[in-house]
Every structure is written in C-alpha cells, then in structure tokens.
C-alpha cells in the first residue's frame, strides 16, 4: 500500500491519501465484523472452562478456570449403568426426568458410527447416480431426472412419521441403523453438483477409452473417478457433516432413549429448562469437543468446498 503510494508520485498524493483512508475504513469494518463473528465462539470456549455452575451472565472470562467440565462429560456413563437394573427388572418403570443421564461418550460414538456409514453409502450412491445421469444415455434418463427434481422439493421431514412406521415394521425402530438409512436413502436426489462436475470432464476421454475396449464400468472406475477428486472430497465431507448436525430425525426417532442419541440431540437436551442450569458449562465443553475436529476438517477442506460450491453453482 505504502510502496504504491510513493510510486504514484507527488502529483497524486490526494488520491493516494484518499485510498489510504478508504483502506483504513475497510480494515476497521473488517475488524469489527470479525469481533462480532468470533465473539460467540470465544464465549463458548471460555465458558467450557468455567468452574462456576450455571449460566454466567456478567463475565466473559470465567472467574474460576477448570477442566472438570470435560471430565464430567465422560464420567456420566456411570450413573446410567447403575440405573439400568431398574428398568430391566420391571419394564413398566419409566425413568423420570431427574434420572436422565447424559452419556456423552456414547453419543459421540453413535454419531461417529452413523456419520461414517452414511458418508460411505451416500458418497457411493451420489457418485453412481451422477455418473449414470451424466455419461450414460438411456430411455428413462430425462424422466428420472425430472422425477428426482420433483421429489427433492418435498420438505425433508414431512414424511418423518411414515418413515418411522416403516422402520418399525421392518424391525429397525430405535436402531442407529435406521438413521443411517434415513440419511443415505435420499442421497440419490443430491446428484446435481457431482453431475455438474462430471459434465465438465471432456467426453473425448471416454471415447478414447471405449476405442481401446474399456467397458463403461471400467471408464467409471479408471478414468472418471481419479479425475474427480475435488468433488469426491466435497461429497464425502457434506455427507459426513450432515449426520453430525442433524437434530430433526434423531429427535423423533430416538425420543426418550438417551443411549441412542447423537451429539446434536444430546447437547440440545442438556439445555432444556430443567437441566440447563446444572449442565450449561458441560454443554459448552461438549460443543467445543465436537466443533474442534469439524472445524479443522472444514478448514483443511475449504479449497475443495469452494471448488464444489462454485463448480456446482456455475452449472446450476
């Protein structure tokens, strides 16, 4: 900035000065915005180390620093085991709200399992469907695409109750696997971005391979997929993060069964009015714990994310 100004010379110092002021204004605006954006995140992090129970209103920094909240998160599995026999011997006894426990470690594991399986199945489905719709030509192709478009416009959880009934019928009620199915069964509809990407890979590559005797199956695995790394990463990332953040289906499917919660549902329960005061700082610790790996992942993958978003946007 300053070097440029000297280059411009004395004739244009007025213009240079104005530009300097404009830049300072931009810096100030950006700084203020960053503070606004970072403030809630920092507050969350600091509160997770707060030794005082309850929602602290007046202090940004905790008065007592502690690591206990993080320990408490994982210690909570104990009381749950202790209370198990009550419901085992007499299934009619329903645990009252006060007996509710927060087995965070269990939730973390649940979320991880659901996310990994949904990610694998969804990514595979999306890539298969995208390739088929982008490269293969068959009679019902246009019809399928239009149909998929219409299907995608129904609100995601409109048919939640019906899906749950189906899960119960096939014996998957209150099973983690039912969540995997819910998250990955609709994956076939999310083909647009990956298809947009496949469309941009020159078709001459396919044709050259075909002349060399490759089947369409081989073209898919040997030619198209290795060229599509950004979109594979993007798809895997979005399908992995989906289950981490989903609350809607878990809250309906796993209602009242706190061993089967995922973190989103569990952390939400921590902030219910009856548990909020005691569990608030623990909630912060739990939130930080799941936010950190995702943030790191997301920042590393940012490159691919931008490529995915804009690549998809250009192609509609």
């Amino acid at each position: 900035m300053t070097t440029k100004q000297t280059n411009i010379g004395s004739m244009q110092t007025g213009y240079g000065q104005r530009r300097k002021i404009a830049n300072i204004v931009v810096y100030i605006v950006l700084a203020i915005m960053v503070v606004i954006w970072i403030f809630p995140i920092l507050w969350l992090v600091f509160q997770s180390f707060n030794g005082k129970e309850g929602v602290s209103l007046n202090t940004f920094f905790p008065e007592v620093w502690t690591f206990d909240n993080y320990i408490k998160l994982f210690r909570q599995e104990g009381p749950m085991d202790a209370s198990q026999p009550i419901s085992d011997t007499n299934p009619l006894i329903v645990l009252p709200i006060e007996r509710m426990t927060f087995p965070y470690g269990r939730w973390l594991l649940n979320t991880f399992i659901v996310a990994v399986f949904s990610c694998l199945i969804s990514t595979l489905i999306i890539l298969m469907v995208s390739y088929a719709l982008s490269r293969l030509r068959f009679k019902s192709r246009k019809m399928l695409m239009n149909f998929g478009l219409i299907l995608g416009m129904f609100p995601g959880f409109m048919s939640m109750a019906a899906i749950y009934n189906i899960m119960e019928i096939i014996g998957l009620g209150k099973q983690l696997f039912s969540l995997v199915i819910v998250y990955s069964s609709g994956a076939g509809l999310g083909y647009q971005i990956a298809k947009g990407f496949f469309d941009t890979i020159p078709r001459s590559l396919d044709e050259a391979a075909k002349i060399d005797g490759a089947t369409r199956n081989q073209i898919f695995w040997i030619i198209i997929l290795p060229l599509s790394k950004p979109i594979i990463v993007y798809t895997a990332l979005t399908t992995f993060l989906g289950p981490w953040a989903d609350y809607v289906f878990v809250s309906y499917f796993m209602k009242g069964d706190d061993e089967k919660f995922t973190v989103a549902m569990g952390l939400y329960e921590m902030l219910l009015p009856e548990t909020m005061n005691e569990w608030f700082t623990v909630f912060c610790a739990g939130a930080v714990l799941i936010a950190v790996p995702i943030t790191v992942l997301f920042t590393i993958m940012q490159r691919f994310y931008v490529a995915g978003v804009t690549g998809g946007a250009v192609k509609g």
């Binding site: 440029k4 830049n23 931009v26 810096y27 950006l30 915005m33 954006w37 809630p40 995140i41 507050w43 209103l57 007046n58 489905i125 298969m128 469907v129 390739y131 088929a132 293969l136 399928l144 299907l151 995608g152 416009m153 609100p155 409109m158 048919s159 019906a162 899906i163 009934n165 199915i181 819910v182 069964s185 994956a187 076939g188 469309d199 078709r203 089947t215 369409r216 199956n217 993060l241 953040a245 609350y247 809607v248 309906y252 952390l267 939400y268 902030l271 909630f283 799941i290 936010a291 995702i294 943030t295 920042t299 940012q302 994310y305 490529a307 978003v309 804009t310 946007a313 250009v314 509609g316």
Partner: protein, 343 residues
C-alpha cells in the same frame, strides 16, 4: 416384496428369451449367460448403477411421501390413530379447514405463511447483499492478509449450526450476556417483533460467511484481462465494478439466490434452535408461535401435537411453494438446458 422381485425377473427372462429368438432368427450365435451378465457392466450399466439408489428411494422416500399425502385426506391424529383403527377418509376437509373453513386454523395458517415469505425474502437478500459486500471488502486489492480474514469467517461457519444457534439463544436471552453488556432489558427472543428481527439478524451471522466464500471463489474466477482491457479503455473503478464485477456475480449467483430462497422457506434450524417458533400467541392454533415457519410448525405438529393430518397438509403446501420456486430456478439457469455443451 418377494413377489414383485419374482415378477420383475420373470419379465426380464421372457424379454431376454424373446431377444435370443430374434438373434437366432438372424442367424447369429445367441449370447451366453455370462455375456448377458457382462452387458450390465457396459450397455446396461445404468441398470447396475441405478437399481440400489432407486430401490432405497422407493422404500424410504417415495413410499413414506405417498403415505403422508394420503394422511392429508384422512383424520389421522392423536385422537384417531392406527392402534384403534379409528381414522377414516375425510376428502378435502383438512384443506378446506386450513384455507377457509376453520377460522382459527386458517387465521394461523395465513399468519404463518405470511411470516414464512417475509422471512425468506429478508433472510435471503440480507445474506446475499451483505455476503457480496463482505467478499468485496476482503478481496479489495490493497487489503492484506486476505486468507486470515477469510479464515476468521469460515471458522464460524464450520462450527455445527445447532451449536452456534444454541449459543446465540443463550447470548440473546432476556437475562443473557448481550443484555448484560448493553445494560438493557431487550426481549430479543421473547417478544414477537424483536424475535422476528433477531432471527433474521442471527441468520445473517450464520449465512454471510457461506455467501462470502462462494462469492470469493467467483471473484477469483473473473479473468483479470477483462479488467485490464477495461482500464485501457479508460474505465474507472466504479465503472469496472458495475460493468464487470456485478454482472458476473449476479449471472453466476442467480440460481444460487433462488435455491437459497427455497432453502430459507425450509430453514428449520435457525428458527427452531433460537425460538422453537415461540413466542406463542393466544389466537394461534395449537402449537404455532409467531416466529414459526411452515416447516417448524410442521415439525411441532408431528412431534409434539401428533396432528399428522394437519402436518401433512402443511407439508403439501410447502411442497407447492418450493416447487414453484424451483421451477423458476430451473427455467432461469441456462446451465441445465445446455448440459451437453461442455462435452
């Protein structure tokens, strides 16, 4: 299920036998079973690829949607449920209730629909405009440490939404830290007017980094020689902006804009985690609050009210809204029309 599978195989068998007959008639050697199977990796590869996804969609998407649409024409709710077989067809009764027949329901529906549309307009355009402004600020030529600024904003959007939204709810609480800092007593989330403004503002907090990120990508893609030739032709900064940058962004972002609009009609997270649709209103029908969108109302109706018939009517209406919006997107984005152009 099994019988359907059997039927499909039977049809396929007959078809293939017929085709074999034809080839023999033509005097060629018929395909062996192995060759036949090989066609599934080549000429008929689409069947291999699409069978599983379509099957999953059929069972877990289409079937439930059909059931749910049927529910809209029954009186299925917590008083009439499957356990005692007490529900029956009521025709368009539920739709009539929502639109004009039942004063309370139609009043609530009208209000919620209106707020949904107002919300979608404000949420979409505030994010869009301010996101572009932020991207332009960061990508301004003389600004240093672009990567740092971008990362600061991206970090916030990387934290799962339900976490940031729950934190926001605590911050904006009547006795929350924002009120404590400002020494005020503003009912950010507990009074209709304030709550509606708050959800829009918080949505900006959530959404602007996303817009910024995609606009940054677009800005970097604008060919530099466009600007260069413009400078040679004597265009000043303002002209460069209005004649090159803005048209470029809006061209690429228009489909994105409309899909965001549809997304905002369906924006469950922001509303539910911040206010759960509250504050409630005495003249509203069961479960609805004044910040409820159609989808959050749908959720409440399904989960806590067990009023499945009304929920499914609302779902169908949301579908119609989104379908209209998406139709516009589809027709406006040329990309979908000339999909073959790239190849």
């Amino acid at each position: 299920m099994v019988s359907i599978a059997f039927f499909v195989i039977y049809i396929a068998n007959t078809k293939s036998a017929f085709a074999t007959m034809e080839t023999i008639k033509e005097g060629k050697r018929p395909l062996s079973f192995v060759d036949e199977m090989k066609t599934f990796l080549d000429e008929r590869y689409h069947i291999t690829l699409l069978t599983l996804p379509i099957l999953l969609l059929m069972v877990f998407n289409i079937l439930p949607i059909i059931f749910t649409v049927f529910m809209a024409f029954t009186n299925y709710d917590k008083d009439h449920n499957a356990f005692n077989r007490l529900y029956w067809w009521v025709g368009f009764q539920n739709f009539a209730d929502v639109f004009y027949n039942n004063a309370e329901k139609s009043y609530t529906f009208g209000k919620v629909l209106l707020w949904t549309l107002v919300w979608a307009v404000f949420a979409t355009f505030s994010n869009y405009i301010l996101g572009i402004v932020l991207a332009l600020l960061i990508n301004k030529k003389d600004i240093k440490a672009k990567g740092f600024w971008r990362t600061m904003f991206v970090i916030t959007s990387a934290v799962p939404q339900f976490v940031t939204l729950l934190v926001m709810r605590l911050l904006l609480d009547d006795k929350g830290i924002v009120n404590a800092i400002l020494h005020t007593n503003i009912p950010f989330l507990s009074q209709t007017g304030w709550a509606r403004v708050s959800v829009i503002v918080v949505n900006m907090w959530i959404g602007i980094p996303y817009t910024m990120l995609s606009v940054s990508g677009i800005l970097m893609n604008i060919p530099e020689d466009l600007y260069e030739s413009a400078r040679i032709d004597g265009a000043n900064a303002v002209q460069q902006f209005t004649k090159i940058t803005l048209p470029y962004i809006s061209f690429v972002m228009t489909p994105y804009l409309i899909s965001t609009f549809v997304g905002n009609i369906n924006n469950f997270n922001v509303i539910y985690f911040l206010t759960q649709g509250k504050p409630g209103a005495v003249d509203y029908h069961s479960g609805a609050g004044t910040t409820d969108l159609l989808v959050t109302w749908l959720y409440t109706l399904t989960v806590s009210e067990a009023d499945y018939k009304l929920a499914s009517v609302i779902g169908i209406i949301v579908f119609v809204l989104c379908a209209t919006g998406s139709l516009i997107t589809f027709n406006m984005s040329k990309a979908t029309k000339n999909e073959e152009e790239f190849s």
